[in-house]
């Protein structure tokens, strides 16, 4: 009897890698290039060299954590690629990546920005809420796009072994 094909290993790999890469994008673009916020910038505003360096430390811890997330995602992708019962689909993987990125934005936005107030998306304004809400909305859009692609990937039913890899 033929084993049914599974999609969850590829979705999980995409989700973990997407969340990790989304975290890197946040750290590189919003923390370092645009310098809109740091991990603890609402608790410890980086307005002195010492405060900026303390924030830099916590940014580093954050980057280390998302690196681990990405590495685990890569390991899961490797495991999925070696299984003959996993449907090999680009749409499913990219959908998982977008889903992971969106999930990261929503979870991080809700916990760090809204609930705990560790930092806000854009610190250099009086009204920080619209920026935080825009970040959450972007995350929700990514979730929808990822979910749509994963649904479309249901039609891809060829295992990787069928490609002669």
């Amino acid at each position: 009897m033929t084993e049914p094909l599974h999609r969850t290993p590829l979705i999980a790999a995409g989700l973990l890698m997407g969340a990790g890469l989304g975290g890197f994008l946040d750290g590189i673009v919003l923390h370092q290039i645009l310098q809109w916020h740091n991990m603890l910038s609402n608790q410890l505003p980086p307005n002195t060299l010492v405060a900026a360096k303390v924030n830099m430390y916590w940014d580093g811890v954050f980057h280390a954590a998302v690196w681990v997330l990405t590495a685990i995602g890569l390991r899961v992708l490797w495991a999925a690629s070696r299984r003959p019962d996993v449907a090999w689909s680009g749409r499913t993987l990219v959908g998982g990546l977008l889903l992971g990125w969106g999930l990261f934005n929503v979870v991080e936005g809700l916990i760090d920005h809204t609930l705990l107030g560790l930092h806000h998306v854009y610190e250099y304004t009086e009204d920080k809420l619209p920026w935080d809400m825009a970040f959450l909305a972007f995350g929700a859009l990514l979730l929808l796009a990822g979910w749509g692609l994963i649904r479309a990937g249901r039609r891809d039913v060829t295992p990787r072994t069928a490609y002669g890899a």
């Binding site: 999980a12 989700l15 969340a19 010492v50 303390v54 979870v107 560790l118």
Partner: protein
Amino acid sequence: MMKLVVATWLTSLLLLTGPDAWACRVCRPRVQAGIHTADYTANLLLLLLPVAVVLLVGVGVFFAPALKARLTSPSAHD
């Protein structure tokens, strides 16, 4: 030509004998103190919380079929 060589040599000497570049040796103890406060563990846990949540979801999705099969299959004791 000789003037150029002397000028280059003098400039190099000046650069070499200039003050060493160092990354805020004076404030380093204050930075270390600012990181390792009484709130260190709380900061670490709060900062890692979103990553842990996403990791749990990802691992949950990976093991979802196995968990579902375990939950839906009849137990040996039934």
